[in-house]
């Protein structure tokens, strides 16, 4: 197994663990962090492929992904704060306003 294959395999493992965390955990903040883990796994696969190239396009793209991920957290945390303030709970099972 060469190094690229190993790193893509690691990325697959981290993505699957993050997906499992999003599905099985109940805490909204923990689910958010598991989504961050999935983003990190995707970035790892992107860096693995981009590190083979010669120009800085891959690094620029990774930087843009970092900014978008930071923006995602900055908009997700206020939503979680609002939900926690209204429902007095971080349990996603308590968020039944949509009838779920």
């Amino acid at each position: 197994m060469d190094r690229t294959q190993f790193l893509i395999g690691l990325s697959i493992a981290l993505f699957s663990l993050g997906l499992a965390g999003v599905i099985v955990r109940r805490n909204a903040l923990v689910m958010l962090m598991c989504m961050e883990l999935m983003v990190n796994a995707v970035v790892l696969s992107l860096v693995t492929v981009a590190a083979r190239g010669q120009d800085a396009a891959g690094a620029a793209y990774v930087f843009l992904i970092f900014v978008v991920a930071a923006a995602e957290i900055a908009i997700a945390i206020p939503i979680v704060l609002l939900l926690a303030r209204q429902r007095r709970s971080l349990d996603v099972g308590a968020y039944t306003a949509l009838g779920g």
Binding site: D2, A13, L17, A20, R26, L44, G53, G58, F63, G93
Partner: protein
Amino acid sequence: MSEAAFLYLFSAAAVAGALVMLVARHPMRVALGLIGTMLSLAGLYAVLGVHVIAVFQVLIYVGAVMVFMVFVIMLLDTRDPSFVARYSRLLLPGALAAAVLAALLGALLARRGPGVPWVPGAADFHLQPFSVAFLGRYWLHFELTSVLLVIVVVASIAVIKGRGGRDG
């Protein structure tokens, strides 16, 4: 070879951090597991020779995003039903779905055959060429990120102070 040893060490640490995230009860421990995974990934990027991305990973993810997350965990009271019972009723289907996804992607990866051999240091782009390319060729993308960040600031204030909020 020490480089390969570091590669496997950081990979094992990243997977261990992800496993801690799955089983830890307190959100703060989950956050620490995620921080460990992110630092291990930064170490992996450094081993790969992409030091710029390793620095960004530590500065932006660990330094900004996770510190924000840790503040929110300390702000919120975590003693609720999700603290007593960690897992939802989707525990078995969720674990099964993740295992099936990992198995399918792994089989796809193994079927690919021998890849192109790794060329060490083929693209060790450092800060200067990255900065020249980033502010030269990709200046429009850089400016668009600032627009995105302004939109996010406005949107988060709107979420907190909007009609759904109690007292802003």
